[in-house]
């Protein structure tokens, strides 16, 4: 498996990419980040018309996915899949939907908040923005780069944008399972895998 590109977003809305050594921000907000990043030369064309539809997590994943594709220097395939791995899941979104519903006297719920209660939603939004037609799923495994490698190795051959969302940031990696490459370092998070490679490069 070859890693084509990788990007991470820090808590202060600052973005970093692995191979191209890009550093963007920190931005005052994600909407500003969207406008500035979209204008970066070589940035893949992403359909960000629905940028405001999702919550903060969706926006963070969309932009980090865009940057991981940029880091891969235009090699993102239309058939790429988008996978979520570990991280925080959607506990915050579940609570937001439920507390809103309860605070409205249990009379009416908000559909928009309900949709966000699936852990795949940020990755689906990234797939829609980047027009990726591969599979989208969220996996929770033991926190280990080896587990993630095993998961990706067993997947059908092709490209996968693989992401991890936590309260402190987002990390996205574009992996190509059809190509040979260096095994993932056995670190517990994608963020730490990013750091391990950053040290080596």
């Amino acid at each position: 498996m070859k890693i084509r590109g990788m990007a991470r977003l820090a808590e202060n809305n600052e973005f970093f990419t692995l191979f191209r050594r890009g550093r963007f921000g920190p931005f005052a907000d994600l909407n500003t980040a969207r406008h500035i990043l979209s204008a970066v030369p070589g940035m893949p064309e992403g359909d960000l018309n629905d940028f405001g539809r999702g919550g903060v997590t969706v926006r963070r994943v969309m932009l980090t996915a865009l940057l991981a594709a940029w880091d891969a220097n235009g090699t993102l395939s239309r058939e790429a899949g988008v996978l979520g791995w570990n991280g925080d899941g959607c506990t915050a979104e579940n609570l937001a939907f439920w507390q809103d519903y309860v605070s409205c006297g249990r009379e009416a719920a908000r559909g928009g908040l309900f949709v966000a209660t699936l852990p795949t939603i940020p990755y689906c939004e990234a797939a829609i923005a980047l027009k990726c037609l591969g599979p989208v799923a969220y996996y929770r495994t033991a926190p280990s780069g080896t587990e993630l490698q095993t998961l990706l190795d067993a997947s059908p051959r092709g490209q996968y944008l693989c992401g991890e969302v936590t309260v402190s940031g987002v990390c996205m990696m574009l992996a190509d399972t059809a190509l040979d490459g260096t095994p993932l370092p056995d670190r517990p998070t994608l963020r730490e895998i990013f750091a391990a490679w950053e040290e080596q490069l």
Binding site: D50, R53, G54, G81, V82, D88, G89, C90, T91, N94, L95, F97, W98, Y101, R106, A108, A109, R110, G111, F114, V115, T117, L118, P119, T120, I121, Y123, C124, E125, A127, I128, L130, K131, C132, L133, G134, P135, V136, A137, Y138, Y139, R140, T141, A142, T150, L151, D153, A154, S155, P156
Partner: protein
């Protein structure tokens, strides 16, 4: 290249109809439905596919569901079995009671404890979770990561999910009528199912192939052309047509329209019989994909497809029927579709 065969060595299904695959298939063939008002929350007059055996108790309803499934397993779990768990929302009732917890992650931990397998993998792909988990297990077996895999799919009925789908306008005013021209939405249900898969046969059947993709179209609506769903089916079928299709068939206008479009694209010359178990059981979310394979295998063995519950007038192009149909072979295509444009197709064969 010939893929390593993956055998279905055992299957279990726990639904309001009963705790064996046989009981469940008999209920489908008798066109029974299991819809009633929930007692564990205010359903606001809505009918759901409720398993009232799960009512009461202080632990999570999902824990009771998993315990019921474990006691219904008709097979023992071999040592070295890897666990794959599918759910959309897990122990959501604990969050409703004030817990701030990862409800799907907690469901995985419960499954690990109840089935005695550590290091499980949670697979979440919206309403395609069940089949996506079975596909992940199939690939892990082919890759040689494990010798056996236990795939569990489960979800409970809850106020959280019922109110959420109601807010989206996705619920039927009465009950789900998959593939009917006058269908008006889905009915929620609850169930759990299990598959024991392995590379060493013989088994009752094979999980022959699977393919997943996305349509990158819209977050809650499928691409109505059904093109990507048809592509997933082609990927799973590998040029060999099925004898029948167990569709996702939620009974919503859009889901069924996309599926019917995909079926027309694939089988226009020779339509293949289509059936959805959601007319009997409701939409069991993360369980449905595993349930479709478990019950589909038994139906394939019996070479029969049940009458479509809820059907009055089939939607144009839908090869659904009010009568049971004899199958000439035991090769079935099973479909799952989920929010975000997720498609999953799996092929199973009775041996």
């Amino acid at each position: 290249m010939t893929e390593k065969p993956v055998y279905i060595l055992g299957a279990a299904a726990v639904t309001p109809f009963g705790s064996t695959v046989r009981e469940n298939c008999d209920a489908l063939l008798a066109v029974r439905t299991c819809f009633s008002a929930p007692r564990h929350f205010d359903g606001a007059g809505r009918l759901l596919g409720v398993d009232h055996d799960l009512d009461g108790g202080r632990n999570s309803r999902a824990e009771r569901l998993l315990c019921k499934l474990e006691s219904a397993l008709p097979f023992s779990i071999p040592p070295g079995t890897r666990l794959f768990v599918a759910t959309t929302i897990g122990v959501i009732d604990l969050l409703e009671q004030g817990g701030e917890l990862d409800t799907a992650g907690e469901f995985l931990r419960l499954a690990e404890r109840i089935f005695g397998i550590s290091g499980g993998t949670l697979v979440s792909a919206a309403c395609a979770s069940g089949q996506t988990a079975a596909a992940a297990a199939m690939r892990a077996l082919r890759r040689g990561t494990c010798r056996y895999a236990l795939v569990i799919g489960g979800d409970i009925t809850s106020e959280f999910v019922t109110r959420g789908f109601a807010a989206l306008g996705a619920l039927s005013r009465s009950v789900s009528r998959p593939y009917d021209a006058d269908r008006d939405g889905l009915t929620l249900g609850e169930a759990a199912a299990a598959l024991l898969l392995g590379t060493v046969g013989p088994g009752a059947g094979q999980l022959t192939n699977a393919c997943e993709n996305g349509d990158a179209s819209h977050i809650t609506s499928p691409d109505l052309s059904g093109r990507q769903l048809a592509a997933a089916c082609r990927g799973a079928l590998q040029g060999v047509p099925p004898d029948a299709v167990i569709g996702h068939g939620t009974g919503t206008v859009y889901n069924d329209r996309a599926e019917i479009a995909a079926m027309r694209e694939l089988f226009s010359a020779s339509p293949v019989p289509l059936f959805s178990l959601k007319g009997n059981l409701g939409h069991t979310l993360g369980a449905t994909g595993v349930l479709q394979i478990a019950l589909g295998l038994e139906l394939a063995k019996r070479r029969i497809l049940p009458p479509q519950a809820g059907l009055r007038t089939p939607e144009a192009g839908a090869n659904a029927a009010k009568e049971a149909r004899r199958l000439t072979g035991g090769r079935l295509l099973s479909l799952n579709v989920g929010f975000g444009g997720l498609n999953s197709a799996a092929v199973l064969e009775a041996l």
